[in-house]
Each structure stands twice: as C-alpha cells, then as structure tokens.
Amino acid sequence: MPNLKGVAASPGIALGPAFLYRPLEPRFERQKIEGVEKEIARFKGAVESSKEQLAKIHARTRKEAGSDLADIFEAHLLFLEDPALLDGVEEKIREERINAEAALSEVIDEYAATLAALENEYIRQRAVDVRDVGRRVLRNLLGVSTEPLSTLISPVIVVAHDLTPSDTAQMNKEMVLGFCTAMGGIVSHTAILARMLGIPAVVGLGESVLSLEDGEMIMVDGTEGVVTLHPDEGIVQSYKRQQARFEKGRKEAMRGAKRPAQTKDGHRVEVVANIGDVESARVALEYGAEGVGLLRTEFLFFDRQTMPSEGEQYSTYRAIAEVMGHRPLIIRTLDIGGDKQLPYLEIGEELNPFLGWRAIRLCLSLVDLFKTQLRALLRAAQGHNVKVMFPMIATLEELERAKEILHEAQGELLQEGLPLAQDIEVGIMVETPAAALAIDILAPEADFFSIGTNDLIQYTMACDRTNERLSYLYEPLHPAILRLIKHTIDAAHQAGRWMGMCGEMAGDLEAIPILLGLGLDEFSMNAPAIPRAKAMIRSLSMDEAREIATQALSMTRADEVRNHVRSYIKGRY
C-alpha cells in the first residue's frame, strides 16, 4: 500500500504502532442448541459482566463529564435489570432452543424497532441506547472486548472509520499519539478533539486506511495530511529531527506566549481563543490568549435530553466571564442545524443541512429558545467585557430582527429588576458570501465582524467540508477566498469597524502573514496555536506582511500562494 493522503486535521507528527478501532457489529450464527439451562446461564453471566462494566463507566463518566452524560449509562443499567428483556430472552432460548446471541439480538431488535417507530422524538432516540446495550451483552457473550479505547495500555495511533463522541468519551487519551480516520473533514469530531488535545491527526483518508494491521508502524503527519506506512530508518530519523524542531519551536513560542502580538514596526493585533467551556477558557489563558474571539455555546446544548435553562446557561457564561476578567469575551449565539440533531429539538432531516434551517435562521423562528439564551448572556455580561455575536447572517433584516429580540430581552430583564448589560456590543459572523459582499450595508447595525472561514470557504467554493472527495476544494489560500477576505476587511475598515477571524484559517501559520498584511485586526484560534501565531506576528513587519499579501493576491493557484508564503517565512518562527 502506498502512503495515504488525507485531510490535515491537527498539526504535528506522530510515529507509532497502529491500533485499529473497529466497533463493528459483533458477528454470530443463529444456532440450535442442546443444553438450554447452560445457555441461559451463559446469557445471565454476560448480563452480569455488562452490568459491572456499565457501573464502572457510569462512575467514571459522572466524575469526568457530569451527571447528564452519566444518566445515559444509568439508563443502560436499568435496561439490564428489565424483567421484560431478561425473561424475553430466556423464554426465546427455552422455547426455540436457540443460542443466547440469536435470542438476545432478536429481542433487542424488536424493542429497538418499536421505539424507533414512536412519534415522541425523545423516546425514539432511546432505540440507539437499546441497541448499544444489546451490543454490549453480545460482545460479552462472544468474549470480544467492549471498550478497546478505554483499555489502551501502550501508546498507539488510533485508526478508525470515524470516531463519535461516545467512542472518545471512553478513550484513554494519554495513550493516544495520533489519529487516522477513513471519514471526516477538518471539523469532524475527531479533528476537533485532536486539536483540543494537541495530538496530530489526519482524517478523510478513505477506506483503505482500515486495511492496516494492528501494530503496524505508521507515521502520521498532521501538518501535511500524510500517513506513511512502514517508514524506513531515514524517514524515522527525519521524523525525529522534525519532531525535535516542532517541540523546540513550540517551547520557544510558549516562553513568549504572554507577550503581545506586535509586529517589528509596532503594529498591534489581538490574538484570542476559540473556546467551548470553562475549562478551555482557563487553558486559553495559559497559552497567552488575550481574550475569547469565539465562545461556541453549542456544547451547552449537546449530550442532554432537555434544553438548558436560562439559569444553567447564565452560570456557565458567568463562570467563563469571570475567568476572562476584563478581557473581551465574544459569545456566539446558538449555531445548530440539521447536521447536528438534538433530542429535544425537532429540526428534521434536510436535504442540505448546511444550506438549511440553522444558526440564526433557526433562532429567529424559535424565539423562546433564542431569547432564553440572550437573557442568560445579558445577565452574565453585566460588569464584564462581553460581546454578542450572531452566526450565519445573510441579510440586514436578519440582523435587525435578531437585535430586536435582544432589545426585548433587555426590556424584560429591566422590568424584572435583574442586573444586566445594557450596552452590549453586537457583532456578526461573516460566513455567507452574502454578508461578505454587503459589509457596508450591515455595518451601521454591527459593532464588529468576525470571519468564520470554515463556512465562508465551504459556501464560496460550494463544497461540503465534510465530503472528503472535495477536500481539494476546501482551500483557505485559494485566490477567490483571499480576494473575498480582502474585500471584507477593506469594507469594514471603511465603515470604521474592526474585522476579526475565528475560523481555522486564523491559526494557520501560513495564512497569518497574508491576513496580517490584509489588515485583519483580531485573530481567534484554538488555544494551542496561539504561542506560535504570536511568534509569527512578532517576526514580521507590516511592510513585509503587506508585500506577502499583495504578491499572494496576484497569484492564480492556492499551492503557489502556499509555497510563496513558505519561502518567505522559512525558519522565521
């Protein structure tokens, strides 16, 4: 097998044995059996083992992730005490004289199918849990390990089709050197998790990666998006050198992390963090973040069965605001849509979820949900440097309507006598080409802007960023993207507004010189990228950056732009 090329999802290089994670349906044959009592005892034994495992996972999840997530496993435990399930399987074994595996999966299928057919969305979701429990007992019956990712005992590179939050919730993260997945793009769960953990990852490698063998030596280059199989001695040596350089650069950058991002000639920009919870807010400060350019609030809404209340949202936002102190904290309102389903929100299947009913569009029609979030946000903002940002704005009318609801929320809080921020800055994300081309129209209603490159690139290039076949189109340095960004920044400055960026591109060391040269005012990125980004900015003068940008804009191809920046910045940070 030749080397594999995928999407570079998290920078750095890792070398180690492959660990194939195959959470496949356990296989078995339906068989007639002789010893009925023995078979029933075998089934009961597997149920007991499953219960012991679940009790451990429950305790661990409660400790690590809180009771909401842990409740899922408590429900799983209850299923395994359910007389209807246990008796149903026993009866089937006794009457049909079949093996426990077959009896169990038939009973599970029946319940899962009944649940999946119900009208109530909440309960329909439980079909997944029933199947999950069924699979667990089945694995115990077959003697197949159940939690391969939690029991990792030596450092490995995890290779999988794709990883879901429930796969990684159980993962022993200290033993993971890197990730390789067949599916997924730059914002898949694996990619996001890898960047959060600072572990190299290549995603979207295609199914061929799954034909690797367990224990096979591989090298994952998450900066280039390449996986090398059986790297020879020369490659390993060069890897070690690169790794040493990467580490050295990282350490040097860390030393300067807290210093301001100021160019050689004294031009100052803001380098801030994209965060998702209180913990990541603290981590961001360690990496030298000067504030938060994007607080994703979706995390509050995932992995739970009911909508988070105003009080719950308030205390989370408040806790983060307190960590940030006087530093700016930009809170983005709920950005959710058909590609991420919530059990308590009927979004429905959409043909094109990325072009569908999502983000601000959804919030403007679910006014109660939106207003609850705005109320929590306004209350948390009181006495802090909090700003609100609306995602996916395409028209002036949307922005006006969103602000109207914000003002209603302010009015309500005033009337109720609750403390709130009365003058809050309102910004929008520039994610749609429509917004990017109409900055001058939106500027009178917006105090600031932030380019969300992940979506802006996807919409400009008309490529689904999760479709790995199209990964060649998802190119931040494409001339069309650079022109659009230049136009956006210029238009904002003309209107007297500052322009930030909170997509992946803002932390891309090869994009930073161009963005700086184009006049970007604020760079918001994942915290681990901050030290090196600041070091890069400090190594340049504005004249240099402008020259890099001007030349880049005259080029016709993305790889040409990338090589141009590379040659310019070589050895600079």
């Binding site: 429900a75 209850l78 007389p83 399930l85 109530n120 909440y122 029933v130």
Partner: protein, 89 residues
C-alpha cells in the same frame, strides 16, 4: 386492586430520568403493577415496556396495582408523578 389515572406533566414525558424513577419506584413494591395508555397496558417494572408506550408530555396514564402493598404502591407512584418527578420548584 387499586387504580389511578394521572397526567404526565414532565416536558420529556415518561422517558429518561422520569421513566427511570417511575420504574425504580415500581420495583420497590411487591405488587404486580401495570401502566396503561390508550388501551395498551404494560408491566410498570419494565423500563423498555414503559418506554414503548411513548408517553409524551400531557398524556394520561392509568396505573393499576394488585398485591399486598397495592395501596402503598399507588400512593408512591402518585406522589412521584404529582411532584413532577421531584422537579417541582
């Protein structure tokens, strides 16, 4: 036999935490307990069976208990449902 009809007010219906509490409470009693919705009657001690009723917010269920502690059983389940599964503020 004791019987009572109750309205489920909880926003998720008889599901997740409420369903778990309901089944756990039923399991503490010795009586045979059933719960019925729209003519479908199932074992109240079986979480899967209770879930398959698909009891959403605002649905009315009939609970029946038969056995030595049938009075206590009905009272315990009534209290649980009336307190909105302990979430009443």
């Amino acid at each position: 036999m004791q019987e009572i009809a109750l309205t489920i007010r909880h926003e998720v219906g008889l599901h997740a935490r409420p369903a778990a509490l309901f089944v756990k409470t039923a399991n503490r009693c010795k009586s045979r307990i059933t719960v019925e919705k729209d003519g479908q009657e199932v074992n109240a001690k079986s979480i899967l069976s209770v879930l398959t009723l698909g009891v959403g917010q605002g649905a009315v269920v009939t609970i029946r208990a038969e056995g030595e502690d049938e009075m206590e059983a009905i009272e315990a389940l009534r209290e649980l449902v009336m307190s909105n599964f302990g979430e009443e503020e």
